[in-house]
């Protein structure tokens, strides 16, 4: 039905579009990871938000309606002519959580990027995806100079379920970023299979 009208001339291929979120604390390398695998330079899209009624910083008696602009960086990977994957870096600050709901809707899965020097920065993201049952994987971005922690220690520190994958990565490296995404999608496939056959396990 959707294809009906344009078929007569040059058939335009309408790809299936999917998205993966890249979450994590401020400055942990989300946009770097997106840029490492994206076929386009990460684009920036902005959402203007009215902050009325939002649980935001105490503006101490400033009653006027204010708007804030939140930027989301994203990239694109064309896997096949008819299959496109979008990667969205989530806004880094906690105060923009409400924006995540839109981003998370229909997402295939999520990467939570972690920096072992500031592991607590990703607690909120882990909590978010756990609550919404969105399949995710932890990718520990191995910054130079940072002490390298084994994946198991990170798992323990984050109190993760056994089925959440934890991988080490270099967000700047294309092959490494690609592996992270594969891990996320494999986990999503496993979760999806589990949901389809609830009696199985």
């Amino acid at each position: 039905m959707v294809f009906g009208r344009s078929e007569r001339n040059k058939p335009v291929i309408e790809p299936v579009a999917l998205k993966i979120l890249v979450a994590g604390g401020f400055g942990v390398g989300k946009t770097t990871l997106v840029g490492a695998v994206s076929e386009i330079r990460p684009l920036r899209t902005e959402e203007e938000l009215s902050e009325v009624g939002r649980p935001v910083d105490d503006t101490g008696g400033v009653e006027s309606k204010r708007t804030t602009t939140v930027a989301m960086d994203f990239g694109r990977i064309t896997l096949r002519e008819d299959l496109v994957l979008y990667l969205f870096g989530t806004p880094g600050q906690d105060r923009f959580w409400f924006l995540w709901d839109e981003l998370a809707q229909g997402a295939l899965g999520a990467v939570v990027l972690a920096d072992t020097r500031r592991l607590e920065d990703c607690f909120a993201a882990v909590d978010y995806f756990e609550r919404r049952a969105i399949p995710f994987a932890i990718a520990v971005n191995c910054f130079e100079g940072a002490q390298q922690h084994p994946a198991d220690m990170v798992r323990e520190a984050l109190d993760l379920d056994a089925d959440v994958p934890v991988v080490l990565c270099d967000a700047r490296d294309r092959a490494s970023a690609k592996d992270v995404l594969i891990t996320v999608v494999e986990n999503a496939a496993k979760v999806a299979a589990g949901r389809r056959e609830p009696a199985a396990t």
């Binding site: 335009v12 309408e14 959402e47």
Partner: protein
């Protein structure tokens, strides 16, 4: 002399047109809830009718036309349109809503799915990533 130096030019002066002026002040559109970030916008092809916008030209802003042109070449996601046109998402959604109303574009898979895609799609994604 001094007044010359104090003037702001180009980008420093801010947008010539305030973003929501392009939508004539509208901040939402009936279709907005349907426009997922990665919904792909496709221009309806009307090439056999001659000038595609001859009848609707006057109601369209340059931004509307820009969206139609971009989505004629290739289906383009809502997020990409916002980034390419350098407009806030909210503005782009209103503009796309107008074009939907006028049957100038359609949107593929506009509603975000509630469930994960089926196993074969996930396998395709994994294979596609491996092949990169």
């Amino acid at each position: 002399m001094t007044s010359e130096a104090e003037r702001w030019y180009d980008d420093a002066a801010g947008p010539v047109v305030r973003p929501y002026a392009m939508t004539r002040g509208r901040t939402s559109h009936a279709a907005e809830g349907r426009l997922d970030l990665i919904a792909l916008v496709v221009s309806e092809s009307r090439s056999e009718e001659g000038d595609p916008h001859a009848d609707t030209d006057r109601a369209l802003s340059p931004e509307h036309v820009d969206i139609i042109e971009r989505c004629r070449v290739q289906p383009t996601s809502v997020a990409e349109l916002a980034a390419d046109l350098d407009l806030p998402l909210g503005v782009v959604r209103v503009l796309i809503g107008d074009l939907l109303d006028a049957d100038l574009v359609h949107v593929s898979r506009p509603v975000p799915p509630a469930e994960l895609p089926d196993a074969s799609v996930l396998r395709d994604v994994i294979n596609g990533l491996r092949a990169l």
